[in-house]
Amino acid sequence: MRPYPALSLVLALACAMPALASDEAALSIADQATMTTEEPRDWRVFVEGALRETSRRATGAVSHGARLSIDLRYDKVVTPGLRAVFADRLDLNRYYGAPGDGNINTLKEAYLSWQPQPDRIADFGRINVRSGSAVGYNPTDYFKVGALRSVSSVDPASLRENRQGSAMLRGQALWDGGSVSALYSPKLADRPNSGAYNLDLGSTNQRDRWLVTASHKFGQFNPQLLLTGGEGQSAQVGLNLSGLLNDSTVAFVEWSGGRSRSLLSQALLSQALLSQVLLSQALGTADDARLRNRVAAGVTHTTASNISLTAEYDYNGAGLDKAEWDALRRGSLAAYGRYRTFASIAQDPATRHNLFFYATWTDALIKHFDLTAMLRYDAVDSSRLQWLEARYHWTKVDLALQAQVNSGKATSNFGALRDRRITQVLLRYFF
C-alpha cells in the first residue's frame, strides 16, 4: 500500500510538467515553421576556389598556388525511356614561382541511356563505371586506370568524383533482387593527351576491354561477381561482399584475381624502348606472369555520436614486396620513376601491403561542421600519408581547410612525393 497517494500524484505531475511545457514550446516553434519545399532539378553546378601552400620535400621551399574549378552535372529524362547524362569539370590552375600553370578540363561523363522496359537498359557514350565495396583501395574498380586527369585532393571521395569515364556500350538486365550487366569499351586512341580541352580518350580507351558484372541478393548479403578482360590481358575475376556485424558496424571485402604480370613488369614493358634483355635484368625474368590476387578488407564502425571509423587492409599481389621494392629504390632512377608513375596512373598501390584508416565526424561539436581524417600507411617501407579536412557548410556554401603531410624516407612510397606539406583553403558555392 502506498502511504501518500496524493503526494505521489503531485510528484508525478511535477515531473511531467516540464516535459509538457517543453513539448508545448516545441509545438509553438513548429507552428511558426516556414517550410520551403524544393523542386527536383536536372542539373547541379558549383564553383570552387582554392588557395594552396606547398612545402617541397627536397628543398623545403614554400610555394603558393590557386585554383578555380567549375563543376557541372546534368541528368535528365529527355523523353520517357531516354535519359541524357553530362558531367564536366574545368580546373584553372595557377602556381606562383613554380611550373605547372594550366587549365585542365575533365569530361567525366557524356552518355545516353535507353530503357525500353523498367528492367532492361542500354547505355552508349562516356561512362564512369565504378566498382568496389572498399574505401581506400578498390581492386575491382577496373576502369580506374587512366581515369585521373586533374587531382585537387587525395581524399578518396574526391578521387572517385573527379575522374573521367571510358567510352563504351553497356547493357543491363535486372530482376527482383538481382542484376547482370555487360559492357564493351573499344580502343579509340594510342596514347594519353594532356591538352587542356582534349577528350583524352587515349587515357581511358587505349585498348579493347570488356566487363561482365552480376549480383543477386541472398538475405542480407548482396555479393557482386565481376569478370573482365581485354587486349593484352588475361581474364580477371572479382568479388565484392559486405555485411552488417551489428547495428553500428559494416564489414567489407573486395577481391580480384587472375593471371597477370607484376606491376613493375607492366610499367617497364610500357616503355617501348625497353628491350626484353633490360627487362630480364630488372626483374630476373622476361615474363613474370602468374596468378596474382588483390584484396581490400575492412570494417566501418559508427559511434552513437555519428563518428564513422574505417580500418582497411590493402594487399596488392602485383605490387612489390620489401626485397623487390628495396632493390628498385637502390637501382635505376629511371626505372624507379617509371614504376611510380605507372602505379599512380593505374591507382594501384606501389607496394604489396598497405593500411588505410579513415574517420569522418559529421556535425562535430557544432552543427554543419564536419571533420575528416585519413592515414595511409605503407607497411612495406613504413612511409605515411596523412590528410585532415575541417569543413563547415551553409545551405549553398562550403568552406574547408585541408592539410596533407607526407612522411617517410626519401625514396619511400609516400616520402618521395614531391611535396612534404600541402595546405589548402577551399570555398565552394552551389548554384
Partner: protein, 256 residues
Amino acid sequence: MMLSALMLCIAFIASGVAQAAPNAQEILAKSDAVRNPDKPFSLTVTLVEYRNARQTGGNTLTVYSKADAAGGQFRSLIRFVAPARDMNKLMLKNGNDLWFFDPSSKASIRLSPQQRLLGQAANGDVVTVNLARDYKAALSGEESVQDGDRQQRMSHKLLLTGVSSDVTYHRVEMWIDVANARPVKARFFTESGQLLKTAYYRRYQMHLGTERPTEAVIIDGLDPNWVTVMRYSDYAYREIPEAWLQRDYLPRFRPE
C-alpha cells in the same frame, strides 16, 4: 427451452463483448493504415531542424515506398532533392539493409543503422514503416492526451516492443485516437529506457482517400530545444517495379 435460448443469447452477447474489446495489435495496424497508403506510393518530405528556436538545417526528400509482398514491411527509396550539395543522392532501406548512393562518385555504400544522414531524424524516421509488423503491441489503457494541434484526444496508449533486430527503436509508447485510429503522439526509447525523442502527428488532411498526418514534430529526448518538423506532401500512387528496389538499380534511378 426458454432457458437454453437465454443462455445462447448471453453467450452470443458475451462473445460480442469479447470481440469488441480492443486488440492492441489491431489498433496499431489500423493506425499504420492511417499513415501509410495501401498501394505503392511516393511523397515529398520536407525537414526543417531548429536548435533553440533558430532554424539550423533543412532538407527536401522524395520517398518512394512499396510493401514487401512476403513480409508486409515497406521498402523505401529516398531521393535527396535539397540542399544542392546532396541533390540526387539516394538511400535504399529494406529492413537493416541500407545503401547510400552518390551520383557524383557512383559509389554504392552499405550503411549501418547507426549511421545518420539527416541530423536528428534517424534514417528510419523518414521511411515508411508498418509498425504492426516490427513491434509487439500491448494496451496500457485509455487516456486523454493533448495532440499536436492542442486538442484533447481520448487515446489508446500502446506499449510497443521490437520483435526483430532491424527496428529503429527498441521500445515505443504510442497514443492512438480511440475514435479513428489516428496516431496522436509517440515516445521512442533506447534499450536502456532513455527517452530518445517524442513525436506529434498533426495537421491531418485528406490524401489518397484517407485523412493522414501531414506533419510530424520531433522533439529530442535530451534537449527539448532541438526540434525537427517533417512535413509530408505530394502523396501519389506510383508504379514501383521490384527490380528498382535493389542496390544495382540505384545508379539507374531517375524518375520523370
